[in-house]
């Protein structure tokens, strides 16, 4: 007999065609989100606040209700959606520039208020859609189109450690950093996304996952070389791990 072991998630649109560059980790991340929506059976109560950057087209792939937010404002819009309709499942999917540069205030204040929403942040250390400029998570020494001799402290200052900052917010229920550089890490990433979604469903507060991702096009690397960079360079500054989990820390917070 035959057993189906792999299929297109139900939460994907029919005949979905990704517009991401070949080898980009966005495709894997979006698939994981779709699989988790399927497994939690929440597609029909989900409202997505989409963002600006390579992540903008997410609503072309996921078969869920979506509102497009201006650059950086996804968590303000998610807040509006959730406060208006607390029974819906609300999440954002943003890049590092959207979440942690132009939208840092909206992001951290959503976490501080303990909004019952979930956020996914794709950290690829660059502004991908605009052609590879220096962003808030660009590593020290990294060459980009706006740091032609590499990121130095004199001109650019330090990159931001997003998952750690989010974990510091009292309203955060879950904050983790994961990567997609190996099958084992992809499985861990899926667990983290699921957890960040579940804390919302349980009314525990803000759920967050930072996903270390590749941008082979702007890094000018092959996909496998790009994954090596994630392991050898990114993970030294952006250490994977669970930075906060109120369900296992014994921490409690008031349910809304």
């Amino acid at each position: 007999m035959t057993v189906q072991v792999f299929k297109i998630p139900d939460s994907f649109k029919k005949d979905v065609k990704f517009s991401f560059c070949p080898g980009c980790d966005h495709g894997v991340a979006v698939r994981l989100v779709a699989e988790v929506l399927d497994e939690l059976k929440i597609r029909e109560k989900t409202i997505l606040a989409a963002s600006i950057g390579c992540s903008v087209t997410l609503y072309d792939f996921l078969n869920v209700d979506s509102i497009e937010a201006p650059h950086g404002r996804a968590l303000a819009e998610a807040t509006g959606v959730k406060r208006a309709r607390p029974d819906k499942f609300v999440f954002t999917y943003q890049g590092d520039g959207d979440f942690a540069s132009i939208g840092l205030a909206e992001s951290l204040h959503a976490a501080l208020r303990g909004e019952n929403v979930s956020a996914i942040c794709i950290n690829n250390t660059t502004y991908g859609m605009t052609g590879g400029q220096l962003g808030p998570t660009t590593l020290l020494g990294q060459v980009t189109t706006t740091s032609p001799t590499g990121r130095n402290l004199e001109y650019y200052g330090y990159p931001i450690k997003i998952a750690e900052h989010v974990a510091l917010c009292d309203g955060t229920a879950y904050s983790a950093r994961v990567s997609l550089d190996s099958v084992a890490n992809i499985r861990k990433a899926k667990q983290a996304i699921k957890k960040a979604f579940e804390v919302q469903l349980q009314g525990l507060g803000f759920g967050f996952v930072e996903i270390l991702s590749t941008c082979p096009t702007n890094w000018k690397m092959t996909p496998s070389k790009a994954h090596e960079r994630v392991r050898d360079e990114m993970m030294k500054t952006f250490v994977p791990g669970v930075y906060k989990d109120v369900t296992s820390d014994g921490l409690t917070r008031r349910m809304r």
Partner: protein, 355 residues
Amino acid sequence: MVTETLSNKKVLTKGNYAIAQAAINAGCECYFGYPITPQSEIGEFMSGKMQELNRAYVSAESELAAMNMVIGACSTGAKAMTSSSSCAVSLMQEALSYATSDELPVVLISVMRGGPGLGNIYPSQGDYFQATKGGGNGDYHLIVLAPSTVQECVDLTYKAFYLAHKYRNPTMLLADGLLGQMMEPVEFKEYPYPEIDNSSWALTGAKGRDGRIIRSYAPLADNQCVFLEKLFEKYRTIEKNETEWEEIGTEDADVILISFGSTSRNVKTAMKLCREKGIKAGFFRPVTLFPFPSARLNELASKTKKMISVEVNMGQMINDIRLAVNGKVPVELIHKPVGAPPAPEEILEKIEELI
């Protein structure tokens, strides 16, 4: 504070409280805001009342965030609003451009103060351009309603919610510091408009259907052309159905005084002083600033000799009047840069100089 919220009795209340109570009566489900003088009483009132009624209230981290929260709430079909003033309304322009393109029923209360920049907290009409000409990027307009009394603050707040939902277009109530801060007797009648069915577009979670997308992003030029033609067709419909103004003594007038908002009250008195002195003056007050009552002004221009725009700014609405009359009559300006409106006697004196 307002004590009688829904009754036929008149109560004495401040413009800002009247607006807030009217929003509650209109069924506003969500308020998101950030404090700024001279409208902070709206947020203060809403913080208590919305929680008491188990509706949504958020003290937003900025006006940018507040307007985007309104967009989020409106995307679900909810009645949602924010309130702010001049320099902070500037911070909302990006989101208002998106909200117009998203065709969302955003309600914004703008209580004008002096500008540009931080300016001051005195009354002003310096944001006429900001309100009526779009304000953010791209081709679009808000529907703009301008109250002249505290009673109209109530009535036009009701209307703002109705028009925003009827036409799925962001709608602004454009008041000023004078109206926000002064007290007058008002009557809170019931919300007089029908509820608008939003089931064909609101985000509800894609239960038993495919996902809906509310977005402004139109990567193909053709799509954007189609959208903008449709948007402006909507504006023509709004102009046809909703243009509103008040006029007195215009039929035999040699000179028509035109003014909006709180300033128009002294202008109305000045018109009466003119008549007492034998000057045949008329009074015209646009209630909707967008759509602007251009067609009616053009008609009146065929019957009168002169029009005078009276404004508390450096002369903004006068541009729309001149466009409306298209050179048929001279249009003059009486203005004060910022502050309380000029007194009726002061206006009369200037009218006598101009005619």
